[in-house]
Amino acid sequence: MRVFAYIEHKAGAPDDTAAELQAAAKRIDAAAAPVAIVTGAGAELDAACAAAAEMYSEVWKVGNSALEYPNAELVRQAVVAVVPRGSVVLMPHDHFGIDLAPGLAVKLGAAYVPDVVAIEVVAGTELKAVRQEFGGQVSTHVVADISAGAVLTVRPGAFQAGGAYPAEGGRGTEAREVARGPSHANILDKSAEVGALVAKRRYLGRIAAEAGDVDITRQPLLVSIGRGIQEQDNIAIAEELAEALGAVVSCSRPVVDAKWLPKSRQVGTSGKTVKPKVYLACGISGAFQHLAGLKGNPFLIAINKNPKAPIFQVADVGVVADLLEFLPVLTEKAREMRLTAK
């Protein structure tokens, strides 16, 4: 059984998940050397392969002009063409993995285990992994029969990227030298194994997210509200607090979905990445897509009425309270502080 890692890359640079997938692969088989699969076209593909070759002892390069933009339907055809049946294929559980992986598993006749946060054991033809359900409130063990192979999507950030392969693999400087050279001994070109690629879904272009009225990515303090704010009219409660603190209001996705705040205020994978010093999470449960938008290790204070809310597992300080009652108290304190400061 071989383990493959699908490498996402942009402008010739592999994504952070490239190293995390290698850590996940080691959990499946500590001895085996996972193979990186890199698809794409032209100079960007070459650069991505060269970078992957610094991390993985073997890289399969799949080049095709149709793969210049990663259209999941075409990538699927390419991966199905090159990967031997019975393999385990890893990829990140993100906007691309969600697009590609379920159909890939079907076409490979393999088991599909999505959004894996831990791999516990591989015994014989069974793989036991950990997933989370209900927004992280509970976890579950899933057992997959991998005798016909498996596709796993791995939650970004869940596996700590270990040392790159030259450090671990013992081939040290020599391998690194090889990888840096004009031709990489450990890159295998598999492009010829892929036939004509035709898609019923065609990529047309991309539009960048709109910039908003305020830039939440540059604030030292964010008063962030989630579905716990309950009604549009209650947004004012958070805004009053933010004003008294000299801070800005940000939010989780449901607040934007309901059109109570603009998209530019959303923190998370499909919103902004923020790096405040202090993050006040009010009525936010702590879903991973939300937390992934918090960088730079801010001091996280969570206010939630549910003492079991997952956010309390990652927060530094927790307040169990109804935010509609607690935020006004906080606003009063902030105003008092302002007065005494004057």
């Binding site: 209900f134 579950t140 309390f312």
Partner: protein
């Protein structure tokens, strides 16, 4: 345009504290509702058929308890519902296979699913498409109909949008926020209370007896967590004082 929307009844997690009972979750007093993503999908299907023409069918794979979500979505405007009963504890791949068997009988132009179920993992839509050999796009947050094909916007990282053209028939998984789902009152639900909802089993769907699933859930648990948050105690005023002090100490206040 004939549109099929796949809907699932799930515990409403934002209103529930999920607790364990043995190795399952405690289900007695959970509040169930239609999966949030699926509600957006039904609304989107209704808007398409209202602006063009056509009909929306809602379908769920489940048991008798699940019929209520079909009624709710029919009260929104879906003309037909179907309950597919194919046994308990099905994994995502098995659910997709049942939906594929149903879809093959129906002459649908378009199938919508939610991006994910609250107790699921964003897999059923993509698997269904692959089983039907139809094109698929996930995370769709806008659709424009253009004759025999669609223009779809996918929401990718950072809220960027990826635009694709996709041939019909196809499967799309719908992201929250694509529209504002209409309100459904008790009256609306009463109006569709008598509409018959066919219940189909594996035999009616022409499916062979059970092929065992490749993936099974072994039970729920609450993971041992790290240090967790320091929980503040005391009156609201005392806790608020402490929060102010911490915000200042950690550099949040100027």
């Amino acid at each position: 345009m004939k549109i099929l929307v796949c809907v699932k009844r799930v515990p409403d997690t934002s209103d529930n504290e999920i607790e364990l009972q043995g190795d399952d979750i405690r289900r007695d007093d959970l509040v169930y509702s239609v999966n949030e993503w699926d509600n957006y999908a039904v609304e989107e299907a209704l808007r398409i058929t209202e602006s063009l023409e056509g009909q929306v069918t809602v379908v769920t794979v489940g048991g008798d308890d699940d019929e209520e979500v079909l009624r709710r979505q029919m009260a929104m405007g879906a003309k037909e519902g179907a309950l597919l009963s194919a046994g308990d504890g099905l994994g995502g791949a098995e659910v997709a296979a049942v939906l594929a068997a149903y879809a093959k009988k129906g002459n649908f132009d378009l199938i919508l699913t939610g991006v994910q179920a609250e107790d699921g993992c964003a897999q059923v839509g993509g698997m269904l498409a692959a089983l039907l050999d139809w094109p698929f796009a996930s995370l769709v947050n806008a659709i424009e109909v253009m004759g025999g094909k669609l223009k779809v916007w996918r929401e990718v990282e950072g809220g960027d949008k990826e635009i694709n053209e996709i041939d019909l028939p196809c499967v799309l998984s719908i992201q929250t926020g694509i529209n504002e789902p209409r309100y459904v009152g008790m009256r609306g639900i009463r109006q569709v209370a008598a509409v018959p909802i066919p219940k189909l089993g594996k035999k009616e769907l022409g499916m062979s007896a059970d092929a065992a699933g490749k993936v099974r859930r072994e039970g729920y648990f609450v993971p041992a967590v790290g240090k967790g948050a320091e929980m503040l105690q005391g009156s609201a005023g005392e806790m608020a004082d402490k929060v102010m002090e911490l915000m200042r100490a950690k550099g949040g206040l100027k």
